[in-house]
């Protein structure tokens, strides 16, 4: 008892704390009222979006991926400007030209390259390219070259970010069997290859949300029907469906319509996964007290779904959608391989890879495989982004 008085003396107090028989009282003040007012986790005091963003920012790889994807998607409308050649532009002198060397800061120019002479070696049946190293020529920046294009559907111009030098070519990643610039084709191919996933996801989203939502909200009979159709779709092999649906595309449709149909097909086959996610999310959210509270407040169903349930599962869906885009991009390449996807003159990564799908490319002209790199990069980026988003989604821990 007496030792309690020593509370003012720190050492003695500590000793009291350690003595089971002593009564130790700390000098810490206590104000019960402050507890009621003070914020406990002021670090979590932000809208969910802000919290998610805060958490997401910490995933460096995901952020980089996001920026990368954002950049390339933003660049898509300007591809004509950014690529030195038109994708269909053939250069008969550059058939199977290898990637060309560019030297920077030479002879007072930002970049120079050399004219190439090509001849066919009848012993190897390969074209041989020899640069004329005595004749450096400057790459032209912000210059006019190639066919006229319409920038953003507004301006007709043939101004390009950079152009091959006068009297020489500029095939940074080489040229294909018709002498088309692979670098430019990759950039143009990005347009279709990258949007195929987006459209597909939009479609599978629409179907998945509707059906999954119906199943999750109404349950019972609807749920059983949706579940069963998911099971059936999942057990059907994709390939024949692709075949059948692709065969149904009329022959004289333009590349853009075909492309759109391909996206639709990819989307039509992708929804079950999303529908399941939506359904289970719906089911679990229905059980949340705040949803029940809104119901008991007399909120109409629409309001409950739109302002209570949606915001809480949207982010999860965005993450899973992000993760399903890459499979669509890969799906497009597979469809192209089967001759069911896009058709020339459309340019897509899948088509380019399909062209490169023989030993000649692997063995003799490896630069034809260059489109693999962007496919992998984009797929990786989407995956990193999706993973990052998913990890960031639950910001309250």
């Amino acid at each position: 008892m007496t030792r309690a008085d020593k509370a003012t003396d720190p050492d003695a107090a500590r000793e009291a704390m350690l003595d089971p028989d002593a009564h130790y009282v700390s000098a810490e003040p206590y104000d019960p009222a402050a507890d009621v007012q003070a914020l406990e986790r002021s670090d979590l005091d932000a809208s969910t979006a802000a919290l998610i963003w805060r958490r997401f920012r910490r995933r460096r790889l995901a952020v980089i991926s996001g920026i990368y994807l954002l950049a390339i998607y933003l660049a898509l409308p300007f591809v004509d400007f950014l690529a030195p050649y038109d994708p269909a532009q053939r250069n008969p002198d550059a058939i199977f030209a290898p990637p060309q060397a560019v030297e920077f800061f030479k002879d007072g120019h930002l970049a120079v390259t050399y004219p190439m002479r090509s001849e066919i070696d009848m012993n190897t049946f390969q074209p041989v390219f020899t640069p004329d190293l005595d004749d450096p020529r400057p790459v032209r920046f912000l210059a006019r070259c190639g066919p006229v294009y319409t920038l953003l559907g507004l301006v007709e111009t043939n101004m390009r970010l950079f152009c091959p030098p006068e009297g020489a070519d500029l095939h940074l990643l080489g040229a294909d069997r018709l002498g088309r610039d692979i670098h430019s084709r990759i950039m143009h191919g990005a347009r279709l290859s990258l949007t195929v996933g987006l459209i597909g996801v939009v479609i599978s989203f629409a179907i998945g949300m509707t059906l999954g939502g119906l199943a999750g909200y109404f349950g019972g009979w609807t749920d059983a029907a949706v579940q069963r159709s998911i099971e059936i779709i999942r057990s059907l092999p994709e390939l024949p469906i692709w075949l059948a649906l692709s065969a149904a595309i009329p022959a004289n449709w333009g590349p853009v319509s075909v492309f759109f149909m391909i996206s639709v097909i990819l989307g039509l086959l992708d929804w079950p996964g999303l529908a399941r996610a939506v359904r289970s999310k719906f089911l679990s959210l229905r059980e949340e007290d705040y949803v029940r509270a809104a119901e008991l407040m007399g909120a109409p169903t629409r309001r409950i779904i739109m302002s209570h349930m949606m915001p809480n599962f949207m982010s999860h869906l965005v993450a899973s959608a992000t993760l399903s885009i890459p499979s669509m991009i890969l799906g497009e390449t597979a469809l192209s391989l089967l001759g069911l996807g896009l058709r020339p003159p459309a340019v897509s990564w899948g088509l380019m890879l399909n062209d490169a799908l023989d030993l000649t490319a692997v063995e003799i002209y490896p630069w034809l495989l260059a489109p693999m790199v962007p496919v992998m990069m984009v797929v990786l980026a989407f995956n990193f982004l999706g993973d990052g988003l998913r990890d960031a989604l639950d910001p309250y821990s």
Binding site: P32, V36, L39, R41, Y290, G298, P300
Partner: protein
Amino acid sequence: MVKATPLLALEGLTIGFGDARLRVVEDVGFTLRHGETLALVGESGSGKTLTGKALIGILPRGASVLGGRAMFAARGAGGLPEAPRDLLAMRPAELRRIRGGRIAMIFQEPMSSLSPLHTIGDQVSESLRLHTELRNDAARMRCLEVFEQVGFPDPERAWSAYPFELSGGLRQRAMIAMAMACEPDLVIADEPTTALDVTTQAQVLDLIRTLQHDTGMSMILITHDLGVVANMADSVTVMRKGKVVESGPCETILTDPRHGYTRALIVAAPHVPAPRPEASAAPADPIFWARNLSKTYRGRRRGIGAPPPVIRAVQDVSLTIGRGETLALVGESGSGKTTVAKLMLRAEDPDPGAEIGFRGADGRELDVAALDGAELRDFRRRVQIVFQDPYSALSPRMSVLDILTEPLEIHGIGTREERRAHAAELMRKVGLSPEHLRRFPHAFSGGQRQRISIARALALQPELLVCDEPTSALDVSVQAQVLDLLRQLRDEMGLSYLFISHDLTVVADLADRVAVMRRGRVVEEGPAAAVFADPRHPYTKALIAASPTPDPGRRLDLAAVARGAGDPETWPEPFRYEGDRAPPLREVEPGRQVRCAA
């Protein structure tokens, strides 16, 4: 005075969290003697669990011990203490030998602390395999022995059972068996009974006490419940925000608390009230009532052709809430009390034949069971609910302002400005600062969130609030504050409450009337004071007897608990059930009913 070497002497324990080395436990110390129990008391976040875990080196990822010594003197052969060694400085392999063998831990949530994929026998005998020479049959025999000891009715069955096949109480017994298997010197019990019903808690506490007595082990009991402390501990260390605020022998702390926090804790702890003057016998002006409320669920069909099993969640319940009164509906989990609330709120439809009535301030009587459309919406305006889990009750996507104005918006009340002003008013009413309106729910503590929930429920100026265990997820001190708030609001606004709780003592001060439920039926109903003063039904008696209070003089009455807490089939006559048949509810006094024959 020569002191015997204590079992454990902890001093200066400091634990840091994360890269920032945020100190969550700072300079904590205590001494535990052989055979004694030390209670580590504090609310959630006080660092008491971390302290326990640090002793055996199982801190969660990100946390690390920054300083301190924990000298542990295990009982050696012949019961003589070995030379003390510092637990905090041991190599992992060395510590592993002590962990589970010499020091065992019992966790709070037995369901999630047991692996669902392994049998109880496997999990319990694992400690034996790790720390003793016992193998196979020998280990099995020892396990069965321990099962017997911890009170498993059928040890053989327990051996091959999976955790989900056991009731909560048995699961906790399994946890205890796991801890006891190697006859440790020290058991660290982390809130061992918090997740249990009151009656089960009493039995488990008693078990622990008996075991301790039989084996002479020591215990560190981590808890926030001073009632439990009073029943179990020799000495108490009170922690708050990672620091020790008060420590000393149990009696001293409970009877002579010096620190403000300790005092608050003691005040907040539920008490069985002293007998009060008799209140009104029956509600004179009923606002909300139900007659013959039943609810049956259809289970999953078990076989083709076999009829689906029927689950009777609520059977023939009749309740009446008087205007301005609080009716407490008390019962263990699964007793059907929440279902009753849902039925009365029309969140679910009752079986045909039920009658639910509501008479608002305007005097109009509503047949709630038949409401729909605009009338139902009007009813919902007048009756609001406060949920148990403060985390799930508020949408994380909405700011507090949105949450509080939403009910008004739904019902199209007021302009934007008015709604906003109303929200600020509500905040003040529940004791929060209106400045926090722009904040998001996750910034608030559980108690604060529960206040926001209450504010939301009040937004439409209802006449009646259904409170579904509004405080059971909160710490004791916070719980008391929220109860205070509710009481204050009732008095200010003339509200009526249907208050649902599993803990009789929680409602003691608030309730005017109490209805005790068990297995879907009301077993006793009457004025609160009368029920507390003179419980008639064995189950009610058990509930009261099982409630631990921070009064060293009042120990749990296990005999009473045992009489009333078992299955209704085991109740003494005339209260006993015969399968699905139960004795009728009889009025034993005016306004007082007990389910008994004759």
